[in-house]
């Protein structure tokens, strides 16, 4: 009798206990608690790749060699050669913010690939200002930033491995020559149950 009552109470309380333990919480973006999936690029990977590219670029001193600092950079094509659909802004935006904060470079938002602009309103206002002034006020970019993200996969038994290669090039807009090149490879390995693909 007592056992039956006790079991009934436990059965009734179980959903509340389990439900109370399963809760969402905030974690540091890109921190150690972040989920790591082998088959896809995680936010911590973008942060690492952007950090590596920015550090290398700033340390190279290339951006200091422009005649009229800070250097102006236009974002060109970033090719996605991975097995998933990604927004390359997750990488380039971080680089742009870091370069702007460094004081060494600015990014143009009115000049983009194929004539498109990131900020159509700014482009319109700029064109209006040029029309009124009857002269070009747009500063031609000193450099363009282009790149590619490549995914290499490998499998041995139940272990799967993905390497994401973030390749970037900074090209002198006048000469067409790459003045800086950077590559960051991030490799992740896991067993079958941890694989995201």
């Amino acid at each position: 009798m007592k056992k039956t009552i006790l079991l009934s109470i436990l059965a009734a309380a179980l959903p509340f206990v389990v439900g109370g333990c399963a809760s969402a919480h905030y974690i540091q973006t890109g921190g150690r608690e972040s989920v790591v999936t082998v088959g896809s690029i995680n936010i911590q990977d973008y942060i690492q790749a952007a950090n590596s590219a920015t550090s290398d670029l700033l340390a190279s001193g290339v951006l200091d060699k422009v005649s009229n600092p800070p250097a102006v950079i236009a974002i060109s094509r970033i090719v996605n050669n991975t097995g998933e659909q990604i927004d390359t802004d997750l990488l380039t935006k971080k680089i742009r913010v870091a370069l702007l904060n460094s004081g060494k470079a600015q990014t143009t938002t009115t000049m983009g690939l194929g004539g498109t602009s990131e900020d159509p309103m700014a482009k319109g206002l700029q064109q209006e200002a040029e029309f009124k002034a009857d002269q070009q006020t747009t500063r031609t970019p000193d450099f363009t930033l282009s790149g590619k993200i490549i995914q290499l996969t490998a499998k041995a038994g139940s272990t799967s491995q993905s390497t994401f290669s973030f390749q970037l090039s900074l090209t002198d807009a006048k000469s067409g020559l790459a003045v800086w090149e950077g590559e960051k490879e991030i490799t992740k390995q896991g067993t079958q149950s941890a694989v995201g693909f």
Partner: protein, 138 residues
């Protein structure tokens, strides 16, 4: 009878364990051309386990052509097996205020047994004058 079975099994187990523990040998030139500008450092150790495995050898700094502070830390794995850890750089300006850096990642790394390796980072702005690096065992 039991000894005849147990001894070979124990031998196989010992061999397997020994195979998992590999440490690194290295060779380098004695007469160094490059001179590292070592700086005195202040260490706070709260994880004795990590400190016993991966220890700090020294810190040296330099300035890039663009005026950015560059820090290099040498760490050494005192154990004979691979160790995993994460680290993160923090940067401070001349007033001791932390500079928020959008691309300051927590980097997961590994170091082979007996290996000495360098971890380096470049400050995000020329205003950075001081730094702190946080290490945690994975």
């Amino acid at each position: 009878m039991k000894t005849r079975i147990l001894l070979p099994v124990a031998g196989v187990v010992l061999l397997a364990v020994a195979g998992c523990r590999t440490s690194m040998n290295s060779i380098e030139n004695t007469q160094k051309t490059g001179q590292r500008q070592m700086i005195s450092d202040s260490r706070v150790i709260t994880d004795g386990s990590l400190a016993r495995k991966v220890s700090f050898v020294g810190v040296n700094e330099s300035t890039t052509p663009g005026g950015f502070l560059k820090i290099q830390i040498e760490v050494f794995n005192r154990k004979h097996s691979l160790q995993r850890f994460s680290y993160q750089f923090e940067w401070f300006d001349a007033n001791g205020m932390q500079i928020n850096n959008i691309v300051s990642p927590t980097v997961g790394d590994q170091i082979e047994g007996g290996e000495s390796k360098f971890i380096s980072a470049v400050a995000p702005t020329t205003a950075c004058k001081d730094f702190r690096v946080k290490f945690i065992e994975d």
